[in-house]
Symmetry: C2
Subunit: 441 residues, 2 copies
Amino acid sequence: MDEITSLTASEASLLLAAGKLSAERLVAACLERIAAREPMVGAWAYLEPDRALASARALDRMPRRGPLHGIPIGIKDIIDTADLPTAYGSTLYRGHRPAWDAACVAALRAAGAVIIGKTVTSEFAAYHPGRTRNPHDPSRTTGISSMGSAAAVADFMVPLALGSQTGASIIRPAAFCGAIGYKPSFGRFSRAGMRPFADSLDTLGYITRSIDDARLLGAVLSGEPDFGQARLDHAPRLGLCRTHAWDRAERIIQENLEHASAMATAADFMVSEIELPAPFADLNEAVVSIMCFEAARAFAFEYNENRSALGAATVRFLNRAAALPAERYWAAKSLIESCMPQLAAVFETVDALITPSAECEPGPLDDPGGDSVFNRLWTGLHVPCVTLPLAAGPGGLPIGLQLIGPYRRDTHLLAVAEAVWDRIGPRSRSTDRGATSRGCA
Amino acid sequence: MDEITSLTASEASLLLAAGKLSAERLVAACLERIAAREPMVGAWAYLEPDRALASARALDRMPRRGPLHGIPIGIKDIIDTADLPTAYGSTLYRGHRPAWDAACVAALRAAGAVIIGKTVTSEFAAYHPGRTRNPHDPSRTTGISSMGSAAAVADFMVPLALGSQTGASIIRPAAFCGAIGYKPSFGRFSRAGMRPFADSLDTLGYITRSIDDARLLGAVLSGEPDFGQARLDHAPRLGLCRTHAWDRAERIIQENLEHASAMATAADFMVSEIELPAPFADLNEAVVSIMCFEAARAFAFEYNENRSALGAATVRFLNRAAALPAERYWAAKSLIESCMPQLAAVFETVDALITPSAECEPGPLDDPGGDSVFNRLWTGLHVPCVTLPLAAGPGGLPIGLQLIGPYRRDTHLLAVAEAVWDRIGPRSRSTDRGATSRGCA
């Protein structure tokens, strides 16, 4: 692998600003990596290498536009781009050209980023998966739905990629691919121009390989230059949170969380056990109800008029969605809203929760979805989530540690994540564990 | 005027279901009315009469598809339609054809509605106005932004039209045109496929000429057949709410509200005076901050790359929006969120607030926006709002009475609105008032 492609965006940006690296060279290195790896990984829905190189050369000739000047990035294919096709992962929209750039894409361009291409998503970011394979093992899934973005970043094709999460769609694939995934607080970044799936849940976020890059990209997307610049003034207080789904987690996942907790204690972090209040047990199902109800409406055109062009899993999901009674939806909304202040109270004693990023190691290709029981509740509660690639299973497949922060305290969560990253990772646990991966059964 | 065009959708629907009226005849009557009045009113951004008639004839030949079978409707031009152009009120998108129908349009089609055309909106539903004139006086504004929808319904061109509200965009034009405007609770109907302006505020709603029609259309858009079927089991308890903007209201507006209050008391409603808590005084400005911050991001593509194609008022707004500091945005969010439970407490003693729909009578054409001080706060607070055309000023221009209900109790608010409508309106006050309209200065 070209060492240029192993640079984080923050590292590359320093070299670019100092004139020690050109955007063209950086983009060319990424494109070479993609050319070599894409046949196996399948991370890209659309690529136009000549256009990306031309963009890079143009940026090399102009004054620095912003903090991402010359930095390559991948855009999940449910996000509109005016100059590249946007198919939402659906054969129905093959070759579709939106009339404008999504807000996030416009912000990236204004900051000087080079849009390398569109990354593979499951259809409409829902359940019918794309073709991406786990870069660590092509027989394994990346998880859905920001699968191309997670694989592309983890596999050093690009340092950054945009994703979105309605259930588990950033944290799960980032964890499965061994990257850093960040699902911000609901509403933190503009989602104008992102294909709606479930309006109460859809959240724009991204995949990186460093916390600094999560800060850098957050500053660009928010338009707030000091985004994420907060630092902790105390040892992080972590809440070990098994959640009500603990029994659904594979043994290696359980062990990994407990090991992370022990490592954190050894690193002089304060770690306490947090038991979520009883009503939280129903949150995952509530989020599914919300997803169904809102998706049934958001995809009514496709479902009513173009059903035969949709993927089988999309149709199954929309069949189920169409049958969801409105009372279930409104009850789910009420439950979530009543849990929000209870979660806020939990954060009076801890800075962040640590919890599994997924219930299992990456399973076989035909099981991309799993049950996302460690993700949906947080998405529903609108709180920020970060997954860090802190471990690996016996087969070398990544295992993530998920950190959950208080609503809208994204900056604070990134500071906690940095402390965790610095003190207890990265490392491999493939040699010191006895448990065997069962995959996602 | 053809008496067919004076039918409400609910009335026409009964006749259609009974075979006493054909969709073709109804649509043809609407098209004739449009042909006669459109040169003066200018309500339509796009019309395709032959297509509408063909749709109507096709519906006449098929079994009843749903509760709007054969009913004509206008769609605000910021809402995507797959078979009609959608220009968002902007010359930049003239002739743009979206690839799909918005969720609301798909729901309408599935219910058998006939999409007559797209109605005029201010550019992106923001400040650069469209060409619509007040049907009661062509020298007067309709207000922005759902101007074509309000004028088309008020002028009997169609019984129903979709609108959207981010500040005052449904209530103000509906009141100015003398129609019923309904801005639901935030999130009540899917806005997938509606051009985003400010994600925390954008709300899909509509204009009708009867409360029954507001119920009928709500059932279709929500997919909840019993939407709005609740009835009050007691005399409505109304809160006379002058708000902190009282001094900004013209004298005739103040008098109208007080007169409505007296009429309600005479009709044996319970009426009490409600003073909003002190922090509510800053809500209108907070909503403007949110609108600016989110719009600066949502329209970054247009602002960064196509500024010269935008209307002057859009550019002025986006210039201002670009300068808004992030702290102001987050402070505005916090203020609004802290006011929400305080407003909920107010509704423990009243069923609805009554308050002006606008601070003035419709002003001259070159002043469509006014300052919307009686609207923005409610949009920000996410509560449902209805305007009823209960009065007219000395020049015969309509004056609305606005009712505000508790968050998500839309059905309850419509029941209160029906009671008010039945007991204290419609009537004209043009002969019994001495105040002179000053227009929107």
